[in-house]
């Protein structure tokens, strides 16, 4: 069974992943300056939530809406929430590793692995949340490639965010992290094969989320990310102007 992609939504999914990554990485690069304790914990959680919940989760479900299949699809609410938590937790750990102490190659790899696995873990948990008259199975080789893409691109994005300074740090890292998220997702989708099963009864869909609710959630998250990104940028510009010598 083959589905078709809506290219407008595919483009939108990349833009949302870049916007989420920009917001998350702008929060993340302030982690090293945060005082140890509550302030640092909050900085890590804020960045991890923007990355896991914004860049990865929102992108995933826009991309799922972009994948048009000739059958009704809904999402198990509990597994969908768990998928967001996987993304947030993994990204928070990855960013905590990258943002603590002197940033070096020794830290880049474990941080990138956590981030990459967060992207992949969220995606495959999100796929497991799908309720439809078909079952999904995967080509293991392509699945592995999707995880490797996520880890490598995450490493590059973290390197740019924590090691560099200037425009490459601000925008390059977000663009590359968007590649990590989207590259992993669409490769993971290419690994998925669908086989028709008998139509599930209505009880299966009880307590599930349909596409309209998802669309609304994604819209709210995207607007939130945009507002957050603008607020951070504005606050930093103001602070920069006020900084006395």
């Amino acid at each position: 069974m083959l589905g078709q992609y809506n290219l407008v939504l595919v483009t939108l999914s990349y833009l949302v992943s870049v916007l989420g990554s920009f917001t998350a990485l702008q929060l993340a690069i302030a982690i090293p300056q945060a005082s140890p304790g509550r302030e640092r914990r909050n900085a890590i959680l804020a960045a991890g939530t923007a990355m896991g919940g914004g860049a990865i989760w929102a992108m995933h479900f826009i991309a799922m809406l972009a994948f048009e299949m000739d059958m009704p699809v809904a999402y198990d609410t509990f597994i969908t929430l768990v998928s967001a938590l996987i993304g947030i937790a993994s990204c928070s750990v990855g960013l905590a590793i990258a943002g603590t102490g002197v940033f070096s190659f020794d830290k880049l790899l474990p941080a990138g692995i956590f981030m990459g696995c967060g992207v992949a873990g969220m995606h495959y948990a999100g796929m497991a949340a799908m309720l439809m008259p078909a079952e999904v199975y995967y080509d293991l080789n392509i699945l592995m490639i999707s995880v490797i893409i996520a880890v490598i691109a995450s490493c590059v994005a973290l390197w740019m965010a924590f090691h560099m300074r200037g425009p490459l740090q601000r925008f390059g890292s977000a663009l590359i992290m968007g590649v990590a998220v989207c590259g992993m997702h669409y490769t993971g989708m290419a690994a998925a094969k669908y086989r028709h099963v008998e139509i599930p009864n209505e009880a299966t869909f009880a307590g599930s989320m349909s596409g309209e609710y998802l669309g609304l959630s994604i819209f709210v998250i995207s607007v939130g990310l945009l507002m957050f990104a603008l607020t951070i940028t504005q606050a930093r510009r103001r602070r920069r102007a006020q900084l006395a010598i």
Binding site: I29, A30, P32, Q33, S35, E39, A98, G99, G101, V102, F103, S104, A161, F162, H163, M164, R165, G166, Q169, R236, R239, R240, Q242, L243, A244, I245
Partner: protein, 259 residues
Amino acid sequence: MEVEFTVLSDRREGLLRELGNLIIHSGFSLVRQRMSTIESGVQLWLRVSGREDRLLELEERLGSHPLVLSFESEHQVTDGPAAPVAPAAKPVMPKRPPQGVGRSLQGGRGAGPAVGQIEAELPGLAQDYPRIFPRLLSMQGKLPEGQKSPSMEFAGRRVGAWVYKRDYALGGKLDLSGALKHIALPAMRNLLSTDLKENSLRVKNNPLCMPGSHCRNGEFFCGFLRGLLDESGVGGQVTVREIYCRSDGAEDCVFEIVN
């Protein structure tokens, strides 16, 4: 001696703890403090006591602390703990013009920096940045002969620390080679054409060192690089020295940075 500082910050949380630690690490002890909220942020008044020879270090640390937006200090040279203490309910706030900052350091120490004179020039340097050389040259001309070198080094450190906080503070902590490549080099390139080779920065056409003048006026850049790198958290104290100078006939000024 006892010194009073009035610090302006945009954050109340952790401010006293952070600055208290900074004061202790600089060899001073906190005598009294008072925090108040004003229109432009949080104002923390501090009275500290300690040795005069460590005051410059304390002022530099204070001036480059991430929580400190600006500060003013009032020095009171005393013989010991019998210093006059202002009542707690009515703290002495600084009223002196910028020229008065650090006047205790200037008195009787010809080899030290002219802190007051430099402090008065710093806002202008910040305003002109990165086109600071006309003001630097004019400032250098006005400095007392015996205080030129330490004063230019002090100015460089203050500008370097400020540039770091303004443009390079966000991001991971880097090792020396990373800090040279991603912080020191772009910061220097903002001022003059500069190349990096291993641990040396080669500065072209340094206007502070005219060929044939034998002036070896690299102190500003030594201070600038130290200010940048110390703030970036490069482990230990960074040593910067000018190993070749354009004024001595070398093609370019070369600064070596060692951790």
